[in-house]
């Protein structure tokens, strides 16, 4: 029933959209690995005399109000943005999946309590909760990642719980129990592999969401600090110049967000289709 992960690259290569997503991902990976080589200027050094210059040979994507090179900042920001997103989603996955599994498999007051806690977290508007947590914990990159992890954990837990709820009464679980398997073995050996598909898809979606949320939090002053290069913060400072006809400060980091989110969305699409037991979807 399960397709192996080894088939996935071949699956991606057959689909143009997935291929585009992959290419964009590779570009980001290159930016992360080779940022100091790719950047033409320091990403955090102000040069007031070169403030707000339009794109030119010297500054490929222009400069911002402080005279910092936008191209170099976008390259370096890839590190910060993806670091935050990947860590946040990884933490949420590692915590959310087992919790969802246990809560879905075992019923009882403890499970209900855990779900109510998740309800509580999810009942807050994302930004309000993000702002509150960041203002309590301090405006550090790690804290932004932690905030996002807190926001995402219930999502993974719910997905796995829903799967576990439907799987726990299936005949093959009863068979496993009859053959003497312990609860832990049933949960992790029998239910988990079957319940994981939707969570894996959610990983890519969440990374995209995390980029947007980091950008949003920085936009309202609850994300990373100036002058750390971060896409959302760059859009936020650049948006104020838009009315003056200075478009490049906000546009390019905005495009970086678009492409990054797009790459993860396309990969999520591919993963969903790949894991869909009813076969590939055609559009």
């Amino acid at each position: 029933m399960m397709k192996t992960l080894a088939d996935f690259p071949a699956f991606v290569l057959r689909r143009p959209a997935a291929l585009l997503g992959l290419a964009l991902l590779l570009v980001q990976a290159a930016a992360i690995l080779f940022a100091p080589l790719l950047a033409t200027h320091s990403p955090i050094e102000a040069n007031p005399l070169a403030s707000l210059q339009p794109p030119s040979a010297e500054h490929w994507l222009g400069t911002d109000v402080s005279g910092m090179d936008i191209y170099s900042r976008i390259i370096f920001a890839t590190r910060i943005n993806l670091l935050i997103s990947v860590i946040a989603v990884a933490v949420a996955f590692v915590i959310g999946v087992p919790v969802g599994l246990v809560v879905g498999y075992r019923r009882g007051w403890a499970s209900t309590l855990v779900m109510r806690i998740f309800d509580f977290i999810q009942s807050f508007p994302v930004f309000v909760l993000g702002m509150a947590l960041v203002s309590v914990m301090g405006q550090e990159i790690w804290n932004v990642a932690i905030v996002l992890a807190i926001l995402f954990t219930p999502i993974f837990a719910r997905l796995v719980r829903a799967e576990a709820l439907s799987l726990r009464d299936r005949p093959f679980i009863a068979a496993a129990r009859c053959s003497g398997a312990t609860d832990a073995a049933i949960m992790f050996r029998h239910i988990l592999p079957n319940a994981l598909g939707s969570s894996i898809v959610q990983v890519s979606i969440s990374i995209g969401m995390a980029i947007l949320l980091t950008a949003g939090l920085s936009f309202i002053g609850a994300g990373v600090r100036m002058p750390i290069p971060e896409w959302g913060l760059m859009v936020s400072t650049g948006s104020q110049q838009m009315i003056l006809g200075i478009w490049w400060v906000a546009l390019f980091p905005g495009l970086a967000i678009v492409f990054s989110v797009l790459s993860f969305a396309l990969m999520a699409d591919a993963a969903r289709d790949y894991l869909d037991p009813r076969g590939e979807r055609s559009r």
Partner: protein, 571 residues
């Protein structure tokens, strides 16, 4: 007081649209969508209706704001409406402007026209306002005001000594602005002995110690005189001073009264036709709250407003080039600086504070951030106030000297510190980023903290943040008054915790001495000490700029930076 504010707000916000606002919708632009009999409600129909409604709504919003509006109506866009209409409310920029237009005070400065055509206060010449004449005792311990006969408030009440006495009594009992001036500046302890009604049109104020500010102080727009007769119907047992009513209403002898006040949206001023200096040329001034500067620029450009307040230097540079728009620039009295917490390591060492001052690239900031509208601060005293001197300012941009000073102070490799600025203050963020790079030249690693205004204020009042941006102005044009606010270690707003025994003594003596030449000499010595001690990173005096449509004339500038609409007219 807050509760009452809310209830009034609710009441005001449901008021119907005023008839004159509806009248100005051009007929040609009324949506013409209704065709024939009523048809079945389709989705398209709904959409059309919705867009027609939206168009009407837009017109209603936009139409009264049109600069084509009558020549006696002025529409102003500013960052916020005043927080309260009561003059005992803590002063903010919006509140200062309200006071300038609504409250009338006892004395004023004579006005003079500068070379730039702007009228300014002449700080050397005091003239009567509500007091037609006045006498100061030779020892500067009492002042007698003879009230101007025939002065009438916006509601028609005539001015007499009872209005003045009641205003004093109210101010004293509310223990806010008036009380602060009387106790802190004039050293009054017993109000019964200090405030005296001589006859129906004469009031005398007696103070325990001589004060050189005995006359000047009464020019402040926070010391307005209320129409006691208009206030009395609104006094209750729980609210004996009518604070609840005055928070959302006006009752003074100024050129305008407030006809409509919707906090967060707009405030409408209506001319007091019986104003003692003559009926204002602008019969109605509508102030609209537009928090985003870009929106104010757009509204001014489109002609939807006549005046746009507080634009950023970059926007002003652009607006200046637009046809049909004028930008008025004055020297102003703001001081924008980074304060260091002088008691906190490493800023307890003056050499460290001096070093940071040597690291500031002032020319670059002036050009890149202020677009030439600001001047470097070379003294803690505003340049336009008497006793100002920039002779003691040594801080050129000299990283080598800064490094040497830091090494001398024991920080050859610099140190780590934090600089706070307000969320939403683009200008401060821009300067902060430049300072971070500049300070890094000497190894000073600055973490920039963007904080909500309330958090930032809390942290610096508690002395918990090593460096923070601070922008303020002192409205009394007197060096000792200014120094007393920011540099006297007893002052509540000496947030940088600067302490110099010599400066304290010089200020204290200048606040009671009436020997003007000595006061000026002492204040120049204060400026010298402060420059040497460098309690702040001296940055800029940003000036004050106002953008208007070109047909708006009569711009004038007063020390609280609020615009006096009485002086304006439209051509």
């Amino acid at each position: 007081m807050i509760v009452s504010n809310e209830t009034h707000r609710l009441r005001l916000s449901v008021e119907p649209i005023r008839s004159e606002e509806v009248r100005v919708i051009p007929e040609t632009e009324t949506p013409r969508r209704g065709r024939g009999p009523v048809r079945a409600l389709t989705r398209r129909h709904l959409l059309r209706t919705a867009s027609a409604c939206a168009a009407i709504a837009l017109l209603w919003q936009g139409a009264p704001a049109s600069a084509q509006a009558a020549r006696d109506t002025l529409i102003v866009a500013g960052p916020r409406t005043p927080e309260s209409l009561d003059q005992e409310y803590p002063p903010t920029e919006a509140v200062h402007e309200l006071r300038r237009n609504v409250y009338e005070r006892l004395l004023a400065y004579d006005m003079q026209t500068g070379e730039d055509g702007v009228s300014y206060e002449d700080f050397s010449k005091i003239t009567g306002a509500l007091a037609e004449s006045w006498e100061v005792s030779p020892d500067f311990t009492s002042i007698t005001f003879h009230l101007r006969p025939g002065v009438v408030s916006a509601t028609g009440g005539a001015l007499d000594a009872d209005d003045v006495m009641w205003s004093f009594e109210r101010g004293w009992n509310l223990k806010s602005n008036f009380h602060w001036y009387m106790t802190q500046i004039l050293n009054i302890e017993d109000p019964a002995a200090a405030f005296q009604k001589i006859d129906d049109m004469t009031v005398k104020v007696t103070i325990p110690k001589p004060s050189p500010l005995l006359e000047k102080l009464w020019i402040n727009s926070d010391l307005g005189i209320l129409d006691a007769d208009a206030m009395k119907p609104h006094l209750t047992g729980e609210d004996p001073w009518g604070s609840r009513w005055l928070a959302t209403n006006s009752a003074s002898f100024g050129p305008y009264s407030v006809a409509k006040y919707t906090p967060g949206q707009e405030i409408v001023y209506e001319a007091n036709e019986k104003y003692y200096r003559g009926a204002p040329a602008l019969k109605k001034v509508i102030f609209r709250e537009m928090p985003t500067t870009a929106n104010r620029v757009a509204a001014l450009q489109a002609g939807a407003v006549d005046v746009a307040e507080y634009l950023s230097p970059r926007e002003l540079a652009m607006v200046e080039k637009m046809p049909g728009v004028s930008v008025h620039k004055v020297f102003g009295n703001y001081i924008h600086r980074v304060e260091m917490q002088n008691e906190m390591k490493p800023f307890d060492d003056p050499r460290v504070r001096q070093a940071l001052n040597y690291l500031v690239p002032r020319d670059e900031i002036a050009q890149a951030v202020y677009f030439g509208t600001a001047r470097p601060t070379k003294s803690p005293i505003s340049e336009i106030y008497p006793a100002f001197t920039d002779a003691y300012f040594p801080y050129a941009n000299d990283p080598e000297k800064a490094k040497a000073l830091l090494a001398e102070a024991g920080y050859p490799d610099g140190f780590k510190t934090e600089l706070g600025y307000r969320t939403g203050d683009q200008l401060e963020e821009e300067i902060a980023v430049i300072l971070k790079t500049a300070f890094a030249q000497a190894g000073v690693d600055v973490t920039l903290s963007k904080l909500p205004a309330s958090t930032l204020v809390e942290r610096y009042t508690q002395g918990e943040i090593p460096m923070y941006f601070f922008r303020d102005m002192a409205i009394v044009p007197d060096a000792a008054y200014v120094a007393n606010l920011w540099l006297n270690s007893d002052s509540l707003i000496d947030y940088s915790r600067f302490k110099s025994d010599e400066v304290d003594a010089l200020i204290d003596s200048a606040l009671t001495s009436t020997d003007e030449p000595k006061r000026i000499a002492d204040m120049q010595r204060v400026q010298q000490v402060v420059m040497e001690q460098a309690p702040w990173v001296f940055l800029f005096n940003p000036g004050y700029q106002l953008a208007t449509r070109a047909n708006v004339k009569g711009y004038s500038w007063y020390t609280p930076n609020g615009n006096a609409w009485f002086d304006f007219h439209k051509e």
